[in-house]
Every structure is written in structure tokens, then in C-alpha cells.
């Protein structure tokens, strides 16, 4: 095609959220030629839109606001010598490790020695949840809500219904409060709210938010503008209507995995995430993935530490681009929806932070995880905390010690 610039680079990182920025910083510091491609006008990813504090605990050992955290990570990547390109959208693939990029400078094919996908995750919007009704204005996700409030200072609503009771849902409640909008109801389809216990107990009381568990939002009411929602009690089937002028669909995360799909990478249908091994290699040689793209979703510090982890794997690939040895597949079984990483290979490091990340669809006050391989239980461990849906479950990687890396697939479930 004419008019397409062609460039080569050691590493192309797609996405400048915490995971992408930290990976880029570390690789650039080690001397690699690194380009970060970010489709937004400024680097930083989701924390850029998230004005509240709560960032940086595990990676920087202090708490910062989202924008401050994003700015710091971007400065550090830049200082280490990574090239941060904004308004640069990766639209597809021009080769196994070549990216098609659109930016105001034109079209470009960036051929990289290694590609790190760090494209994050997004919340499932209303259509994906099959909520009936007309299509009035005033139906948003937390992501849109926070951009409207923080980046554009534009929200005209006074009564919101927040669908979901995950961590991010409380973040939505705080944002609404800041914008002068009351949360008149928070709904959860589960028996207990998904957020951790302190929030679960303090949240409703401190913030004055009524919480309806075992409740499904079935229909949006209103035509031009939202007038309310119809909710169903999932035990009794009873229906009622709640008046509101804003509905916020929160959580129910899905990997932003379009590039993973169009590359033909193996993808976990439950999360939309590319399948990775503990070094964060995807199923395509030289293509890696990190952050919320592989675990939709965990906190930013966990994403950042995943970025650091993948950088070392990328460095080794650049030094010696060899195919990894055969591995053993790890699969989640109900009530677990997914687990990451899912490929265990001899000689690989343990996963980032020595943790397996998983997602449960059910709440369990007391739970144990169980691993089986070739029909035998190989590990079982009582969890010291309750399991809750809508929140990532972090499991010690020591569980994997008993896996026979020459054996059959391993299954992970909850007892």
C-alpha cells in the first residue's frame, strides 16, 4: 500500500496503562529500543481517569491518586528512553510481529522484534448484559462516567442506580457523589455484595447507599432520557421499579482483546483474554501480554508488576528468540470462570508476584482450592479469606509445585 511508513523497533508495547509503561521502562532501561503505542491523547491508561486515591500500594509502597500515578509511570518510562507515542491506534496486524498503526502522522507498519499487548479491559455495557427496554440517554459504564466527570466535567443527573457491587462499583458511587448525584440503589445479582468485607459493610452505611442483593436489572424505563429501571428479585421473581435519571453498569469485566483475536492468538472465551504462560508469552512466538488484558481485572499495581515481569521474558526472547518448551495446560472449572496464567512450562519462572489469578462466579464464606491432574488430586489448600464473585481471587503459586510438567492437563476448582 502506498503512503504507509515502515519502521522496525526492538519492542512495540500496545497500550500505555500501568503494565505497558512499566514494561517499557524496564526494557528501555536495559537498552532496548522500545515504542509504546497509545490511542488516547495522553499516556497513563485507566488511572488517568480515576481521580481518587488508591494507586501504587504494591509497586510503589505508597498511595497516590490515579492521575498522579499515571503521570509518574509515564515520566519514568520516558526518562528510561522509551518512546511514548499518543494518538497512535493499533488497528491490526501487518505481519506476525508487525503492527498497523493509525496516527495523525499517517499510516505506519511497525515491525517489532517482540510485541507486548497491554490493552487493558473494559466493562460489559448494557447490550452485552441483555437488558431490555428502549435506548434512552443516561445509560453509562463506570469508565464513561469517570471520563464524563473527571476529563470533561459533564454530568447532569441527580439519581443514579449502580448495577453491580464490585470494587469498581464503589468507585462509581464516589464519582457520582463528587458530581452531586445520589446513588439511590446499588444492585447485585449475588447473595452478598462482591466487594471486600470492609467496603461491603462500611460502604452502604458511610455512603448511605441502599444495596439490593439477588437483584437483577431487567429493563430500562424511559425513551428520550432514562426514567428508571425495573428490577427483579431473583428468588421470588417479584418485580419493582426504581426511579432514576442515570444507570451505571459497573464491572463485569472483559479483556480488550481485539488485537489478540485478530492475531489468531489462543483466547480464553470466558474472559476474552489471550492465553499466557507464567512468563506471559501468548500462543504466538514473540508476542507477550500483560496487565488487565490477561486478568480482567485486578488493581493497577498488580498490572504494573506484571509489566515488570513480562519485560524480563521479552529481554530473554530478544537475546535468543527460541520457542519455549512444551507445557502443561491449567484450566479453571466451575465455580471458577477463568485462571491466569494457564500454561506451565519447565524452566519458566513462577507467575508475576508468585500468584495465580482467578475469578469465581459464586460467593463462598469458607473455601478451599483444589488442583487435579490425570484424575488425581495433587494439591488442596484452605483459603484464609472468603471468595467473592466480581473480584479477582489471588492464589499462591506454590500450589503449582506439585504439578507434573510432563503430565496431562491440570484442573483448578473450589471446594
Amino acid at each position: 500500500m502506498s503512503g504507509v511508513a515502515r519502521r522496525t523497533v526492538d519492542v512495540a508495547v500496545v497500550g500505555s496503562g500501568p503494565s505497558g509503561l512499566v514494561a517499557a521502562r524496564r526494557l528501555a532501561a536495559a537498552g532496548a529500543d522500545v515504542v509504546v503505542l497509545e490511542r488516547e491523547a495522553a499516556p497513563g491508561g485507566v488511572p488517568r481517569h480515576s481521580a481518587h486515591t488508591g494507586y501504587g500500594l504494591r509497586d510503589r509502597h505508597r498511595l497516590m491518586t490515579g492521575p498522579a500515578y499515571a503521570a509518574r509511570l509515564a515520566e519514568e518510562a520516558d526518562a528510561a528512553g522509551a518512546t511514548l507515542r499518543t494518538e497512535a491506534t493499533v488497528t491490526g496486524w501487518a505481519g506476525p510481529r508487525a503492527l498497523a498503526v493509525t496516527s495523525p502522522a499517517g499510516l505506519e507498519e511497525l515491525d517489532a522484534g517482540a510485541v507486548v499487548l497491554a490493552t487493558g479491559a473494559r466493562e460489559r455495557p448494557r447490550p452485552a448484559r441483555l437488558v431490555a427496554g428502549d435506548r434512552p440517554m443516561g445509560v453509562v459504564t463506570t469508565g464513561l462516567l469517570q471520563q464524563l466527570v473527571h476529563l470533561h466535567d459533564r454530568l447532569s443527573a441527580s439519581r443514579a442506580v449502580v448495577v453491580g457491587a464490585e470494587l469498581v462499583s464503589w468507585s462509581a458511587v464516589l464519582t457520582l457523589r463528587e458530581a452531586g448525584c445520589a446513588t439511590v440503589l446499588m444492585t447485585s445479582e449475588h447473595d452478598v455484595a462482591e466487594a471486600p468485607a470492609p467496603l461491603r459493610w462500611l460502604g452502604p452505611r458511610a455512603l448511605g447507599v441502599p444495596l439490593a442483593t439477588r437483584t437483577r436489572v431487567a429493563r430500562i424505563l424511559g425513551r428520550g432520557r432514562v426514567e428508571g429501571v425495573e428490577v427483579v428479585d431473583t428468588r421470588s421473581g417479584a418485580r419493582s421499579q426504581v426511579a432514576c435519571d442515570l444507570v451505571v453498569f459497573t464491572g463485569s469485566w472483559r479483556a480488550e482483546g481485539e488485537l489478540a483475536r485478530t492475531a489468531g492468538l489462543q483466547v480464553d472465551p470466558a474472559s476474552g483474554a489471550p492465553v499466557v504462560d507464567t512468563e506471559l508469552r501468548t500462543s504466538a512466538p514473540g508476542v507477550f501480554a500483560a496487565g488487565n488484558l490477561v486478568h480482567p481485572v485486578d488493581t493497577a499495581d498488580v498490572a504494573a508488576l506484571g509489566g515488570a515481569h513480562v519485560a524480563d521474558a521479552v529481554r530473554r526472547w530478544l537475546e535468543a528468540p527460541a520457542l519455549p518448551p512444551r507445557g502443561v495446560a491449567l484450566a479453571a472449572e466451575a465455580p471458577l470462570a477463568w485462571v491466569a496464567p494457564t500454561v506451565l512450562r519447565p524452566g519458566d519462572r513462577p507467575p508475576p508476584r508468585r500468584r495465580l489469578l482467578a475469578w469465581s462466579t459464586e460467593a463462598r464464606a469458607l473455601a478451599a482450592v483444589r488442583l487435579t491432574q490425570d484424575g488425581r488430586e495433587i494439591a488442596r489448600r484452605r483459603l484464609p479469606w472468603a471468595v467473592s464473585p466480581g473480584r479477582v481471587l489471588r492464589l499462591p503459586a506454590g500450589l503449582l509445585d506439585a504439578v507434573d510438567l510432563a503430565g496431562g492437563p491440570v484442573r483448578l476448582t473450589l471446594d
Binding site: 500500500m1 502506498s2 503512503g3 504507509v4 490511542r39 494518538e87 491506534t89 488497528t91 493509525t102 496516527s103 495523525p104 502522522a105 499517517g106 499510516l107 473494559r122 466493562e123 460489559r124 455495557p125 448494557r126 447490550p127 452485552a128 441483555l130 431490555a132 427496554g133 428502549d134 435506548r135 440517554m137 453509562v140 459504564t141 469508565g143 464513561l144 471520563q147 464524563l148 476529563l151 470533561h152 459533564r154 431487567a218 429493563r219 430500562i220 425513551r223 472483559r254 481485539e258 483475536r261 485478530t262 472465551p269 476474552g272
Partner: protein, 480 residues
């Protein structure tokens, strides 16, 4: 008063007193049909007004349909509908080429899922021939799966209809409206026609934005066609809205479906189809539910659940794909099985009613038909020789070269390289152009229909705020 009039267009006469604008023809309703009629009539030496209740054109049924470009192979032979769909297929196909309306000649495959349906195929082929369509071909199950490998099990055979296709309903309506406007039609949005006063030479249309006088009135009011007809004193038909709900699957599902996959039609209607869309998605629907409420454009839990189950039967791999959108549209069905097209020469009124499930395809043929009927009724139609070229519509179809992928456009204007809606890859330049067009959007829905912005899988998670800000700035800019 005749702002927007092209040089050479007949302009409205303003009677001295009162200043009520007066036109040769007023078309009531700016759906795809009204826009096509106005465009056609503005091709003659006539002054034309297009009166629309809403704040945008194509904001009712014309925006919420299945978007199939029908050949008319399955129409009832001998009806006006059959004739106009076949003619409209030709006209719209040519017009799409001239204007850049997204249209893909995908072809269709009608699939028989049991023996009874398979036995119905020869009858359908015969019917197509009666409709003047000769290119249907009956195929066996093996061929069905060769054509559409992702179809679920159980197909017994099929009928290939190579000339069916898919089209962008939003761009179609807009192109016709912009063309009408460029030809001098006064496009009057926010004008709900509440009543008519038929005079000796003119009819006064009482609208929500003041009176408008016209010698002739053409009703193209869709779901409100019977109300307008009654205002002229007729009792000819009643509109019974027939709702059609639809599911739109993620673009990543597009590889699963190559052409329009139709069911064997039953007495109840055309049935649920699976089709690619020109935006690169896969669509499943529509349902057919007779209702009383003409504004019931909401989806229902049963409707969505039923369609989801149907999708997974038709194309099992859809179960792993995400839903991007759900919506519903209302067909303006009546008690008649054909279109209701009637001329009332005494009152200089022409009624277009019951254009229920094929109007997108037949719209331009309806335009031609209206012109012929008006000529028969004695309206002098002198073709203009100074018509402007048809509008060049933005390439929002996946099969077209989109601005984000067009190196030359980006080089000429970097705003075409600034992607604002990531899922749909809509650029700042395209949103800006839509806001600056002679028929700008009035709200976010209008931006979406002109550019696709926010209609992707994230449903504005990433870009909604940015696009909303551009809309507000654009509106302010426009007011200045």
C-alpha cells in the same frame, strides 16, 4: 425563506401578508420514503418542503430495520410492493454507487431446516420468477454448508438468491435528504403536522412550528400515515405497529457469516434472519409482534432471550461472541397486504401508507411512482437541467476505505488520523465533518448514525465523553 435553495431551484413564494411559506408540494415525514420522494420531486421545476416532526431525518423506522437490500424475489406477485421493490433495488444499487452509500452485494441463502421447508423451495423459486427474478438456484445441504460453514446442524437444502445485499439505512436516508436539500427542498425539522385545512388552491398544514402552505401534500408519515389520512377525511386503513427486535453481535463474529441467511417465510412473516451488516457486525432478527403502542420501540426480555436462543441454533459459534447492541423497530403494518398508495386529486393529496417491511429498498421507486401519479393528476412536471451532483457520502462501511486507513486523507488532514471512537475506528475528522454538514446531527444518536461513533462493543466506555464534548462544541460553533 427558501434557504438552502440551489440556484435554479423553484423557490417558495411568500404571500405578502402573514408570510406563510408556500410551496408547490409539501412532503410530510422525513423517513427514507419522504426523503426519496422530496428528492425526486425537487428534480422537477417545483418548490418542495419536507416537514418532519423530529429533530433529525430518518429517526423513526428508517433507522431501526434489518437493512437488507431486497430483490423482491419473495414478494407477493402482482402487488405494487413487488413492482416497486424490484425497481427500488435497481435504483438504490445505482444510487449507492453514485453517492458512496455503504452497500454490499453479499447475496442471500434461504435455508430449509426440515423436509417441509425443503419441499417449499421450488414454490419459492417459481414465485421469484413470477416476480421477474430469474437467478434463484435450489441447492442441497452440502452446498449450503459449503457456502456458510458456520451454520448449525440440520439444514436440508437451500435457495441461493445471488442479488440480495445489505445497505446502510442511515446513510441512505441522509443521502436522499441532503440531495433533496441541495436541489432546493426546504427541509423543516421539528415540524409536526397537527392538522390540515384544505383550501381552493392551497392546503394549510398546521404544524408545531407554525403554518406551511402547499398546493399538494404527499403523506409519507410512516407510523402516522393513517392519522394524516384521517385529517384529510379518509377512513382507509389503520396502522398496527409490528415490532421487530434485533441483536447485533461483535465484529469479531463477522467471519462466521458471509451472506444474508434467510429462513423459509411463513404466513407470519419473513422470519428471523442472520446477516452481516455493512459495519462489519452480524445481526440476528427481527421478531414480529403486533402491538397497539406506536412508540413501543423498546426490546423485551422474552424477545431478546428468544433471539439469543435462535442465534445459537442458527450459528452455534455466536454463543462465544459478545453482543454489541440490541434494538427494535416498528413496521407500519396495516390491514391491507399491499402498500396503500392513493391519490385524492380533489384535495391535491397523495397518501403513502403501509410501507412496512421493504421501504428502505423501495424508497426511490416510490419517489418515481409519486412523480408519475402527480403527473397523471395534472401536476406539471418539468425536469430541471441544472441539478447539482448527488452528495458524496462518508465511507462508514467496512468494505469501503475508511478514513483511518486512508493515507492520503490523513496526509491532507491529520484529523482523519485521530481516532476518537476506537472500537469503530471513527476519527475526529469524520465527527467534525458530520457536525459541519448541511444536515447536522441534533444529538448523540445523530452523530452515531452519521459516523458510527459510540456504536461499537464498548458502547462509549472509552470515547463517549469525547464525542459528547465534540457535539456540544459543534453545537456552540454552529450557533455562532
Amino acid at each position: 425563506m427558501a434557504e438552502g435553495a440551489a440556484p435554479g431551484a423553484a423557490t417558495a413564494t411568500s404571500p405578502a401578508a402573514g408570510g406563510v411559506p408556500t410551496y408547490d408540494v409539501a412532503v410530510v415525514g422525513a423517513g427514507v420514503v419522504g426523503c426519496a420522494v422530496a428528492r425526486e420531486l425537487a428534480g422537477f421545476d417545483l418548490s418542495v418542503a419536507l416537514l418532519e416532526a423530529r429533530d433529525d431525518v430518518g429517526d423513526v423506522t428508517s433507522k431501526a430495520n434489518t437493512a437488507i437490500w431486497h430483490t423482491g424475489f419473495d414478494a407477493s406477485p402482482g402487488t405494487l410492493e413487488a413492482r416497486l421493490v424490484a425497481r427500488g433495488w435497481q435504483l438504490l444499487g445505482d444510487y449507492a454507487e453514485a453517492t458512496g452509500i455503504p452497500l454490499e452485494r453479499t447475496g442471500a441463502l434461504l435455508v430449509a431446516w426440515d423436509d417441509e421447508q425443503r419441499d417449499a423451495l421450488p414454490g419459492l423459486e417459481r414465485k421469484a420468477r413470477e416476480n421477474g427474478y430469474e437467478r434463484c438456484e435450489i441447492v442441497d445441504a452440502e452446498r449450503v454448508y459449503a457456502l456458510e460453514p458456520a451454520l448449525g446442524p440440520g439444514a436440508r437444502g437451500g435457495l441461493v438468491v445471488p442479488d440480495e445485499g445489505i445497505v446502510c439505512p442511515w446513510t441512505t436516508t441522509l443521502a436522499l435528504a441532503l440531495d433533496a436539500q441541495a436541489r432546493g427542498t426546504a427541509v423543516r425539522l421539528g415540524h409536526h403536522v397537527d392538522g390540515v385545512e384544505v383550501g381552493a388552491t392551497h392546503t394549510r398544514l398546521v404544524t408545531s412550528a407554525g403554518p406551511v402552505d402547499a398546493r399538494w401534500v404527499v403523506g409519507a408519515a410512516g407510523l402516522g400515515a393513517d392519522h394524516l389520512d384521517r385529517a384529510f377525511g379518509h377512513e382507509r386503513f389503520t396502522v398496527t405497529p409490528r415490532r421487530g427486535q434485533l441483536l447485533v453481535f461483535d465484529k469479531l463474529a463477522r467471519r462466521l457469516v458471509d451472506r444474508v441467511v434467510l429462513p423459509v417465510p411463513t404466513a407470519k412473516g419473513k422470519g428471523v434472519l442472520v446477516s452481516p451488516t455493512v459495519y462489519g457486525n452480524v445481526m440476528v432478527g427481527p421478531t414480529a409482534e403486533d402491538l397497539a403502542d406506536r412508540r413501543a420501540t423498546g426490546t423485551t426480555e422474552e424477545g431478546l432471550a428468544g433471539l439469543l436462543a435462535r442465534s445459537e441454533g442458527l450459528v452455534p459459534a455466536l454463543a462465544d461472541e459478545e453482543l454489541t447492541a440490541t434494538y427494535a423497530g416498528l413496521r407500519a403494518a396495516t390491514e391491507h397486504r399491499d402498500y396503500v398508495v392513493e391519490v385524492d386529486a380533489a384535495q391535491r393529496y397523495l397518501c403513502l401508507g403501509g410501507i412496512r417491511s421493504t421501504g428502505l429498498t423501495s424508497s426511490m421507486a416510490l419517489g418515481e411512482h409519486v412523480a408519475a401519479l402527480l403527473a397523471d393528476a395534472g401536476v406539471e412536471l418539468t425536469p430541471r437541467t441544472d441539478l447539482p451532483p448527488p452528495p458524496a457520502m462518508p465511507p462508514i462501511g467496512e468494505a469501503q476505505r475508511r478514513p483511518y486507513a486512508d493515507a492520503e486523507r490523513i496526509a491532507a488532514d491529520p484529523d482523519y488520523g485521530r481516532v476518537v471512537c476506537f472500537c469503530e475506528r471513527v476519527t475526529r475528522g469524520e465527527v467534525r465533518d458530520a457536525l459541519a454538514s448541511p444536515l447536522p446531527p441534533s444529538d448523540l444518536g445523530g452523530v452515531r448514525r452519521r459516523t458510527r461513533a459510540t456504536m461499537g462493543r464498548c458502547q462509549a466506555f472509552f470515547c463517549g465523553a469525547e464525542v459528547a464534548a465534540m457535539l456540544v462544541e459543534g453545537a456552540r460553533g454552529g450557533a455562532r
